[in-house]
């Protein structure tokens, strides 16, 4: 009995995704060489997130998975967002901002 419901992604589409991922890698390196200030990291993470989405949707067949499996995938990132988001809200709000040199107050111990 053959499993007809299984979605088969064509090699052509896989090749397109491969090309997009390689292009993304090239772009992220080029983007890093330009000084964009705080936007460097935003751009780098945006490109990485797009690359990740392509891998999940096509290489990992996320686009063709059952709704149940898709829910599990999304839940993983939902929990990750809670972990990162809530911890960083705390870290950025609780401690005093680092001085302009980037040193935290604790560094006085090192210098003494």
């Amino acid at each position: 009995m053959s499993n007809h419901s299984e979605h088969v992604v064509s090699p052509k589409l896989y090749a397109v995704i491969l090309g997009a991922l390689l292009l993304g890698t090239y772009l992220t390196v080029q983007a890093a060489k330009v000084d964009l200030g705080r936007w460097n990291i935003v751009l780098a993470l945006t490109i990485a997130t797009i690359k990740m989405s392509l891998v999940i949707l096509f290489f990992m067949h996320g686009k063709y998975s059952s709704r149940r499996t898709q829910l599990v995938i999304i839940s993983g990132f939902f929990w990750l967002a809670i972990m990162l988001g809530l911890t960083l809200t705390d870290y950025t709000a609780r401690k005093p901002e680092p001085s302009r040199s980037g040193n935290p107050p604790a560094l006085a111990i090192h210098r003494a």
Binding site: L18, L21, T25, A32, L80, T87, R111
Partner: protein, 249 residues
Amino acid sequence: MHRTGELYGQYKTLEQQKETATLGMWIFLVTEILFFGGLFLTYTINRHQFPTAFGVGGNMLSLPLGFANTVVLIASSFTMAMSVWSAQTSKKKLVPLFLIATLVLGTVFLGVKVVEYKQKFDHHIVPGRNFDVTYCAKNPASVCGLTEKDHEDEIKEVREGVEAEGGEIALNAHAQLYFSLYFGMTGLHALHMIVGAGLLLWLILESRKGRFDANYNTPVENIGLYWHFVDIVWIFLFPLLYLINRHLA
């Protein structure tokens, strides 16, 4: 474990049986996302705290090697996807070929990683008692195998780092934090690659017996999911570790 893809009693259809396996694999991968997530969180907090030291550390990594490895790993994800396609379309002869290609690319990645780690020992940037992020700047260019220009950039950058961090001790302390995270994160990633290589080896042996086809390919599909996940981790590690301050160099 079912060897031929027959229907087990607790399932109504083969389709349901397969979906259950995929779902289980994804639940495992969700725990992996959170596992690596903790390290990414640690990285973020410390980079936020010590941006200069992280920049100095990041620029000491080899961009050509990191870039090459990213390309190699992405290519291995493609060959892995192609082996899943070969199994799904019952091209039984192609399955082991694409798996072998994946294993070879994975091994190349680990080999390049070994070369990179060796460099870190030579440059005294492995956390521990011999750690000295100023080692390459203080010694002649030839000691770290740098070109004159790279050596000058290195000296300039380390000097700026010392200034910004308020002393060499502070710069070393915080650069050491960066390299601890570098080895921790790339090390855990490499460990996943080694596990993946072992799984691939098993898949290659099984697929040569012609076990995987359109009826039954769950192991190829699920080990593929694992391999792609490890690729995704690297997609984030590469910009976060290698590309922090490249516009300075």
